[in-house]
């Protein structure tokens, strides 16, 4: 058995045994949904419907209903796309990178944040699709044999790389998530009594048996998928940043973009995990599995990635001056002091200044403060993308083409709509899926459970051997 130092704070609090873990995680699925769940899903459902309506209106009328003009031809759509992809980075990072580093605390958050990742990437993928205008020929982005002769997609183009990166990331993330879910679905299948639920979870659990060979394969599949997903996480947001970095627009043409985008993505992803998990642990009474120490670990990651992002902002500013390129220097000066100064200020305050408060242990272990800060970071990261995209192009090379971007109600409606769809999906996940990995939590109970650490665990075998040793 893997031993853990006694001075480490236990990951599972209280006097738990294997059955308690099953009970605690499955209780919300078995019991009736609380009133709050119905209220929330109705509110977000209305948002989602409004968003769908805006999309239908957009497709019927054309991209002209957005606030774009001939100078600012990319604005909210791509900002939202990058924002959602960024949020979709924490899930795979938690389950893949933290698995490779053997960070057991990931088990409190990996399942729910992978779900968040999948839903966020779905929302991200929506924006390029609707921006095409003709949604029904969306499959043209793939290199398919066609009747037009040698009509291929341009493999030199970062936009095409993005298609491959996002679709690979989405499908691999989905498979990774589902393979982890199968044993837990089997646990629910073997417990529920209602015939419909039993049948549904029976189908979802794929006939999982939990025999020794299956578990042997399960562990290798998880490890190899984690190994594959780790470079994938970094590649996806690097490639998203190539959409901008390989262009020749001052403000976009920067080699710092890949690492800067990746750390920004992790930063915003963890902020969204905090927002969702703080609500989830309270509503489902999962404080024993996701306690202040977990929140603190995540806050430390937010602080680290937030500082990397801050350094990147300042490096960008410095290099724009140091390069001696007037266009580049002006692009950054204009960002900070031009007509969009307010968005730059919002970005700097939310992303650079506010995470520094996490140096204080008192603040980073305070749950209310964490919740507020997570929201601030999410707002800040939205502004970061807005600043990069809109302020770099709103002042064209020719001053007569200078312009200002005003979002229309369709721009806002679609963004609000994706928030609605995202939260509806998330609420459905929380209601019907196990939000913590039941099987994985049981593997760390003996090494990181509070009761076992103090020496009064459950099960004869453990108790006897423990007494003998002491």
């Amino acid at each position: 058995m893997h031993k853990e130092s006694d001075i480490r704070i236990p990951l599972i609090l209280g006097d738990k045994n294997y059955k308690d873990i099953t009970d605690d995680v499955i209780r919300p699925i078995e019991s009736k949904a609380p009133k709050g769940w119905y209220i929330l899903i109705s509110i977000f459902g209305i948002f989602a419907l409004w968003g769908v309506g805006c999309i239908v209106y957009l497709l019927g009328t054309g991209v002209g209903v957005w606030g774009l003009n001939k100078t600012v031809e990319w604005a909210w759509d791509i900002t939202n796309f990058v924002w959602w992809v960024g949020i979709g980075h924490a899930g795979t990072l938690i389950s893949a990178v933290l698995l490779l580093f053997r960070q057991k605390w990931r088990m409190a958050i990996n399942r729910a944040s992978e779900a968040m990742t999948i839903f966020a990437v779905m929302m991200a993928g929506l924006f390029p699709l609707i921006h095409m205008g003709r949604l029904w020929v969306g499959y043209w982005v793939f290199p398919l044999p066609n009747q037009f002769g040698s009509m291929w997609v341009n493999v030199n183009s970062p936009l095409f790389w993005d298609v491959f990166a996002i679709s690979t990331y989405f499908s691999v993330g989905m498979v990774f998530w589902y393979i982890g879910l199968i044993p837990d679905f089997a646990t629910i299948r073997d417990r529920v009594t209602k015939p419909l639920a039993k049948r549904a979870y029976g189908i979802l659990s794929f006939g999982w048996t939990g025999n020794a060979k299956a578990w042997n394969r399960f562990e290798i599949v998880s490890l190899v998928l984690a190994g594959l997903a780790t470079p994938l996480v970094f590649s996806v947001h690097s490639i998203v940043s190539f959409d901008f970095a390989t262009s020749v627009i001052p403000g976009w043409h920067t080699t710092i973009f890949p690492p800067y985008f990746v750390s920004g993505a992790v930063f915003s992803g963890f902020a969204m995990v905090q927002t969702l998990m703080l609500v989830l642990r309270k509503a489902f009474k999962l404080e024993a599995y996701l306690h202040t120490k977990h929140i603190e670990y995540m806050n430390i990651i937010i602080l680290t990635t937030g500082s990397i992002v801050g350094v990147a902002y300042i490096t960008e500013l410095f290099i724009s001056w140091y390069s001696g390129v007037e266009y580049e220097a002006y692009a950054f000066l204009n960002r900070a002091t031009g007509p969009y100064w307010w968005s730059y200020a919002a970005m700097m305050t939310c992303n650079v200044v506010s995470p520094q408060l996490m140096w204080s242990k008192k603040l980073r272990t305070n749950l209310t403060f964490t919740f507020i800060l997570a929201a601030v970071v999410n707002v800040g990261m939205w502004f970061e993308r807005f600043v990069i995209i809109v302020t770099s192009i709103h002042r064209d090379y020719v001053p007569s083409a200078w312009s200002y971007f005003h979002p229309t109600w369709v721009d806002i409606g679609i963004y609000v709509g994706t928030l609605g769809i995202f939260f509806v999906l998330y609420l459905l996940f929380a209601r019907y899926f196990p939000v913590l990995p039941i099987a994985e939590l049981k593997t760390i109970l003996k090494s990181s459970g509070e009761n076992y650490k103090k020496g009064f665990g459950h099960g004869e075998g453990y108790y006897d051997s423990h007494i003998e040793k002491h």
Binding site: A165, P183, I203, G207, G210, R217, L228, F242
Partner: protein
């Protein structure tokens, strides 16, 4: 051919492991162990070989890489021969390869991950709609079941096996006749 199967149930993973060890030491062949989570270190005791899924994933990855190389070469160099796109050298695959790296990488990962996942489902016989095949519903909760088959232990009688198993700290024992 009918066969008798003994299911011995335990309530702790370490006890299960010790029980398997003592049974194997006595010369009993343990057919399988069902548990709610992976019991580390039990595979060598009951003689389960390490899975080769990792090798399979590597092969799928190599296949994906080759396919991506063939495809990008065909699209960009062979079919679109000599078209100048952004000054990138389309006449030579080797010189143009840096801008294909993202696609080569993503497609390698795509094939390795999905190939491995599919193989995993097929090898485990876990597919949508398959019936539950664990001997007791509690093995996905907090119970551990060791399966011993009479046909695989021809040196022992059913009673001898039962006696040996009963000495190992079981909580329940069950016998079944299977076809």
């Amino acid at each position: 051919m009918t066969d008798k199967v003994i299911y011995a149930m335990y309530d702790d993973d370490d006890v299960t492991k010790e029980a398997c060890q003592s049974l194997v030491d006595n010369g009993v062949h343990v057919a399988d162990v069902f548990s709610p989570f992976p019991i580390h270190g039990i595979d060598p005791i009951i003689g389960i070989k390490h899975t080769r899924l990792g090798i399979a994933a590597f092969m799928y990855g190599i296949t994906g890489l080759l396919l991506a190389i063939i495809a990008t070469r065909y699209f960009m160099v062979s079919d679109w021969h000599g078209i100048n796109i952004g000054g990138k050298p389309n006449f030579s695959y080797l010189e143009n390869i840096p801008s294909f790296v993202p696609i080569l990488f993503e497609f390698t990962v795509l094939c390795a991950a999905h190939g491995m996942a599919l193989t995993y489902f097929l090898r485990n016989k876990t597919l949508p709609g398959m019936p539950a095949r664990n001997p007791d519903p509690r093995t996905t909760d907090d119970r551990f079941v060791v399966e011993v088959r009479l046909a695989e232990n021809s040196n022992f009688s059913l009673d001898q096996l039962n006696d040996m198993i009963k000495e190992t700290g079981i909580v329940e024992i069950d016998e079944k006749t299977i076809k």
